[in-house]
């Protein structure tokens, strides 16, 4: 007797209805994959563990990517509003007869703001929202490492933000006739990638912290947006901030990444009073490593604390 037949037979003997076609066919789905027993099922190979975590990254990125096509109106607003903000600064600089490179600075800043907003709203505060929606405990109860979920959120967020950033950059460049002077394309690309890595590493770290802060996460998120815009020099060269700008470059990925990209994209501008792009690339590498390690450690600590205190399981805590 085959396994399926045996199962059907067992189901029939146990008086379970549903095999005769009145209900949906359930046998194949309910029998599931062959397995020797619970303890054997729990013994995963290293390869399977790695595969589970990689699949989890894809799984968590999926709703963000899918959401792009499902609600096209979001894309319109996501692109139109930042473009208008950028335009406002462009007109201010034009009215003040600022150097043309400043227009480029603003356009680049406007494009990069997409990533920062995404990190703050859809990375840092996300785990708290996940808890509120009831997803977090399902994530914790699943076999994958929660870092995979964070990486998935980051990957999905990158796709969402990149769309917005590219549109703002291209449209603003064409409309406002921005001229780039790039000598080191490779380094510019590397700095861009490193900026995103550091930025999303920062977001992953904040996600754990925000989970700990609970309801305050919302306010913390709001508090972080504008100050970081300011000290990162989103709409002006960060070197103008002097010591404050230096501190920002040392601590905030957006500040250091944006400054490095501006130096590389507008090479003819001259000294900016900030470290060279090469040094700033190294800072970004260090930030990526530190933030990712901190995120992992914080997440682990958070899980332990949550299990001890019940934070994972009680939504209002």
């Amino acid at each position: 007797m085959s396994g399926l037949e045996a199962t059907k037979s067992a189901a029939s003997r146990s008086g379970v209805p549903g095999q005769a076609g009145r209900r949906p066919p359930r046998v194949r789905a309910f029998v599931g994959a062959p397995s020797s027993g619970p303890r054997e099922s729990a013994a995963w190979t290293r390869r399977r563990i790695v595969a589970n975590n990689l699949h989890s990254v894809v799984g968590r990125a999926y709703p963000r990517v899918r959401g792009l096509t499902r609600e096209p109106s979001w894309i319109l607003f996501e692109m139109l509003l930042p473009f208008l903000t950028t335009s406002a600064f462009v007109f201010v600089y034009r009215a003040l007869d600022a150097p043309p490179s400043y227009i480029g600075f603003v356009v680049l800043g406007g494009a990069m703001s997409a990533f920062w907003l995404n990190v703050v709203w859809m990375m840092a505060a996300q785990l708290y929202w996940e808890k509120d929606q009831g997803n977090l405990e399902l994530y914790f109860a699943a076999p994958m490492n929660l870092m995979s979920v964070l990486f998935g959120m980051a990957a999905g967020g990158l796709v969402m933000s990149s769309t917005r950033a590219v549109v703002v950059l291209v449209v603003a460049t064409v409309v406002y006739k921005v001229s780039f002077s790039i000598d080191q394309w490779g380094l510019l690309l590397a700095v861009f990638v490193l900026t995103l890595a550091a930025l999303y590493g920062f977001g992953m770290m904040l996600a754990s912290l925000f989970l700990m802060w609970g309801r305050e996460a919302w306010h913390m998120t709001q508090l972080m947006v504008e100050p970081v815009y300011f000290v990162s020099g989103l709409n002006f060269p960060v070197g103008r901030l002097g010591m404050l700008g230096a501190v920002a470059i040392a601590l905030i990925p957006l500040a250091v990444g944006l400054d490095a990209m501006r130096q590389l994209a507008f090479a003819s501008t001259g000294p900016t009073g900030t470290p060279s792009p090469e040094i700033e690339a190294l800072i970004l590498i260090a930030m990526t490593i530190v933030f990712t390690i901190l995120a992992r450690w914080l997440l682990h600590s958070m899980e332990i604390r949550a299990r001890q205190e019940g934070r994972l399981t009680v939504r209002w805590r």
Binding site: A6, R23, F30, V31, W44, G67, W74, W121, P143, V314
Partner: protein, 372 residues
């Protein structure tokens, strides 16, 4: 009883010893569990029955590795819930009543696939499993429907499909029919029993405060109140605890001398006319006599039947009245499930959650769509 799929199962599916759980709270700590001992065999359908605040959900959270016990130990198929969480998470799953997990903007099929990736299925394997389960739970027509547009019953079926994605050996169900209408609740109960019966060795731990549900589904039940297990047994065993006499409802076409003619028989404790009923089954409409018969033991029924023959009375219906699990609970606790004093202190972790009132950011998805 275990088939080939179960293999050699030696450890209990669930083994909890001296579990306590205290939540820090002001002004006083809240004791959610106060020394729970529980052993569930592989393949068993076990129920935790108790009112809100009894500690059922807290116990499930501990067994599903989401919460640590304040003291005591718990093992799932031999794996410690405190230290071997990954192993446990690979072989268990859980579904709660009123669960709103996932992202409303996704289609039902997509949402399930997302979860399949978390549970260790491959990309193609995940889609195949999702399609099979969607058909199995009866959501074929809703597979491409957005999660946010599913009805409560459909949503709970989808939650069940999610819980079955990894083919768990232990399935934790926390009030799975909470808030469902009669038809949806029945469908969910059928799903549970069908799934469990499909492969021997699958274990289900169900918490509920619906006594009929526990009675219908569970092989054994633990009655829980205020963080303690008051009694464990099969539904029949639990009912026998309160059934000191046999109670029958007897309907006869006529009875000369009335119920008192039976009250004098040996072994008959009492015989009284039953309260009238209305509707199509109304015995009054059939002009029969209905008697509530209390016997010292079942054996006394033979004497009653013989006496009815002597009285020229024909039996129209005879049913034995079983005590309900509510009777058992009342006997054990001294109050009913719905009594106000059932929850004298707020037990953190059970059912109550402050509603979210956070503002909504422009450009972000609506709450019912989920925040991606």
């Amino acid at each position: 009883m275990l088939g080939s799929k179960a293999g050699s199962i030696e450890a209990p599916a669930i083994d909890a010893r001296g579990i306590t759980r205290v939540y820090k709270a002001k002004p006083n700590d809240v004791v959610a569990l106060a020394g729970v001992d529980l052993e569930v065999a592989p393949g068993e359908f076990f129920g935790l029955l108790g009112p809100n605040g009894a500690g059922k959900t807290t116990l499930i959270k501990i067994l599903t590795t989401l919460l640590l016990p304040s003291s005591g130990t718990a093992r799932i198929f031999g794996f410690d819930v405190a230290t071997e969480t990954k192993q446990i998470r690979r072989i268990m799953n859980m579904v709660a009543g009123g669960e709103q997990s996932g992202y409303g903007i996704l289609q039902a099929r997509e949402q399930l696939w997302m979860f399949s990736q978390f549970y260790g299925l491959g990309v193609k394997e995940g889609w195949q499993r999702v399609d099979d389960l969607i058909d199995a739970v009866g959501l074929s027509e809703q597979r491409h429907q957005r999660v946010s547009t599913l009805s409560t019953g459909q949503r709970q079926k989808m939650n069940f499909a999610r819980g079955l994605l990894n083919d768990p050996w232990v399935f934790f169900l926390d009030e799975p029919t909470l808030g469902l209408d009669v038809a949806a609740a029945r469908a969910v109960r059928e799903l549970i029993t069908d799934w469990r019966a499909a492969v021997p060795g699958r274990t289900v731990l169900l918490t509920t405060h619906y006594m009929a549900e526990a009675d219908e589904l569970c092989e054994r039940i633990a009655i829980v109140d205020r963080g303690r297990i008051l009694a464990i047994g099969t539904p029949a065993e639990l009912k026998r605890r309160v059934q000191h006499e046999s109670v029958f409802r007897l309907e006869v076409d006529r009875l000369a001398g009335g119920p008192s003619a039976l009250a004098r028989l040996p072994g008959v404790v009492s015989a009284a006319a039953a309260a009238g009923r209305t509707g199509e089954d109304d015995p009054a409409a059939r002009q029969t006599v209905v008697i509530n018969l209390v016997l010292a033991e079942d054996a006394a029924l033979a004497g009653v039947v013989a006496a009815l023959g002597g009285l020229d009375a024909r039996i129209v219906a005879l049913t034995k009245s079983e005590p309900s699990l509510e009777d058992v609970f009342v006997e054990l606790v001294g109050r009913g499930f719905d009594d106000d004093e059932a929850e004298p202190t707020r037990t953190v972790g059970d059912d109550e959650a402050e509603p979210s009132s956070e503002p909504h950011e422009a450009g972000q998805p609506e709450p019912d769509e989920g925040l991606l």
